[in-house]
Amino acid sequence: TFPLSPRWKKEDVTYRILNYTPDMLQADVEEAIARAFQLWSSVTPLRFTRVYSGQADIMISFSSGFHGDFYSFDGPGGTLAHAYPPGSGIGGDAHFDEDENWTKFTTSNGYNLFLVAAHELGHSLGLGHSNVFGALMYPIYMARDTRDYKLPQDDIDGIQALYGHPKESAALPTTAFPPQEPTEMTPAEATTEMPPWEEPTKTTPSKTPVRPRDCDPHLSFDAVTTLRGETLFFKGSYVWRLSPYFSEIEHDTISSFWPSLVAGFDAAYEVDKRDRVLFFKDNHYWAVSGYNIEQGFPQPIQNLGFPTSVRKIDAAVHDENTKKTYFFVGNKYWSFNENTQSMERGYPRKIAADFQGIGHTVDAALQKNGLFYFFHGANQYEVDIKSKKIIRMMRSNSWFNC
């Protein structure tokens, strides 16, 4: 609760919706707010009544930027909404940032109004923030399925500490709108035409259903790249993250970094001067900057200058000194000039012709500490960038201190 535990001293609390967001139908806004109130009334003796004029205990509004209190909104993202503890005047009021995209769905393209309203109304009733991950009153927005949403126990404990338990006769909904479950829709479901990278026939199934052990002597990788000084090793949906900032290898999944990317990359490389990493899967590629996927992607690999006969890339590595990127396809490699964004003449060439001793395909490639590392199965070749000669051979997982 807030300091001094402010609460409504009555069980009948009124609310009024002052205006609406244009992002949603008015009926959907009203339903989201009513459902949010119902969450709290179902576990307390409180009853909520909507009023349409005059002063209500809880005034609900959408606005952007400065909106008449000391806490201006900040544009898209960041702060989504805020609400005041019970009290007169502004007390209890809930404000929603109109610069956000409000939705009744649980998607990555907007914020679910029901979830945010339920949280804010918790403040309106006297609850502060909870540090219990998963609680409704946790301060961070977490998208989740709102069908049959139940108030977490931490929130129930909090609100009942202020208002007690519901009366036996109060089992019926007390809001103007009975709770209805909106139909959830994923962005993919909302799209009538499935984009090519999501067509089942073109998706390579994950190569590894279970994460291999770090020191598995047979461990191989689909792709390896640097990213802002860290090194990421990919296999199936899994990522091994080697960072100068932590002593241990971090284990992650591709979806935890880039939820919309399909797992099972074929190749990846970083152009660190542009703070950009390119990921390749089948005949498409994506550009990311940190966690953000750049707009306009995926693009077909033919946009880089590959003929249509090339259907996928095995590996890619960028040389920051020459600004060239080498793409490995079968037993050949191509050289791409990052300055001119075009393939160099005279390519493809046989890998073995220039990189003597590499007489096979390259699964993944990495440029690190001024050297190339070519991965093939459980083996890895350290290669001098200038002379293109093999310096030594190691296990692919030599980076994991096995």
Partner: protein
């Protein structure tokens, strides 16, 4: 992920604003009883890391910054509106 170097200053400003908004951080605020208050932001970062269950280092590492950048409610975590 770590921030790109040219963004570091910008990120520090962002973190400062975040701590001012949600953790009652006031620049220049020092305790009479503390002889050395070299980095007043560290205490607030620790407070924030502790609240979110992050490793408490007092440093603005990438996990802390990532948490600060997540969309959230505008109510402060450790004090009430005044």
């Amino acid at each position: 992920f770590p921030v790109v170097p040219e963004k570091e200053k910008e990120e520090m400003q962002f973190a400062k604003k975040y701590l001012e908004n949600f953790y009652d951080f006031k620049e220049g605020k020092s305790s009479l009883f503390k002889a050395k208050d070299l980095n007043p932001m560290s205490d607030k970062i620790r407070e924030m890391q502790s609240f979110f269950g992050l490793e408490v280092t007092g440093e603005l590492n990438h996990k802390t910054l990532d948490m600060m950048k997540k969309p959230r409610c505008g109510i402060p975590d450790i004090r009430s509106y005044s």
